[in-house]
């Protein structure tokens, strides 16, 4: 039986990211559901978080739209985020990749 070990990468206020070395993939815990993602899909989420952190995007979010529909894993999952959740998701991605970079420095 394969023992799955999920190692915590980073936790933001609402969400957490994990790495599974045995499965060679990552997990994002969105609170109500945990989503398994590949590195490629994680990069895609990073890109979305980067787009969301643009000042115009935040301005639009604060003044016109309160919610954002986030599709992930090649549209397999759809997650509804309100403004605070969007900001937290951006924080999660920044923290996740900062920790990945730190881990890489420690490993090498």
């Amino acid at each position: 039986m394969l023992l799955l070990i999920m190692e915590l990468i980073f936790s933001s206020a609402y969400y957490s990211s994990y790495q599974s070395s045995t499965e060679r993939c990552f997990y994002i815990d969105f609170g109500h559901k945990t989503v398994k993602i590949t590195f490629c899909q994680l990069l895609s989420l990073r890109y979305k978080a980067k787009q969301m952190s643009a000042p115009e995007y935040i301005h639009n979010l604060l003044n016109h739209n309160d919610t954002v529909l986030l599709s992930l894993c090649d549209k397999e999952h759809l997650i509804l985020l309100d403004t605070l959740m969007v900001l937290d998701f951006i924080n999660l991605m920044k923290g996740t990749f900062a920790m990945i970079e730190l881990n890489a420095a420690l490993v090498s």
Binding site: E7, I9, Q19, S21, R24, F26, F39, C40, L43, S44, Y47, K50, F97, I100, E101, N103, A104, V107, S108
Partner: protein
Amino acid sequence: MENLTRQEISINLEVMDMLNEQIEKEQKASSLYLAMASWCDQRTLVNSAAFFYKQAEEEREHMMKIFKFINDTGGSAYSPNISNITHEFSSLREIFETTLNHEISITQSIYKIVAKCRQVNDFGSENFLMWFVEEQLEEEETIKDILDMFDLSGDMPLQFIDERIPVDQ
């Protein structure tokens, strides 16, 4: 924790972001040169139009080269969204001056990525970018030669200058 990320991607993430920004710059240059080609074509400046059609193709090739490199090394390349390309120019000389300034800004941008590669020890990306460093020097030289020719030609008719624009670079 095992370095799973390094097993998936061979280039540094910050370098990848800068290369994605470079993709946008190269595509923007391609679109700008296409607009310049159109301006020249409409005024029957045949050689200048041919020159800029070729430049537009070359910039797109540069963009594709970076695009492929990012994906081949395990990163994610993003298709650029280009808008606000000007189609208004006052003279052929202005077009070439704009081109030189644009090429200089692209060269500087490449240098910044190379500097970042050295800072983070991403030698693979640095090696890839060496081709661009050489290419940019050649591009700048070509445009400078054309602008020198403008200076030498004085008040000669545009047709005279156009005939001397190098089509086969």
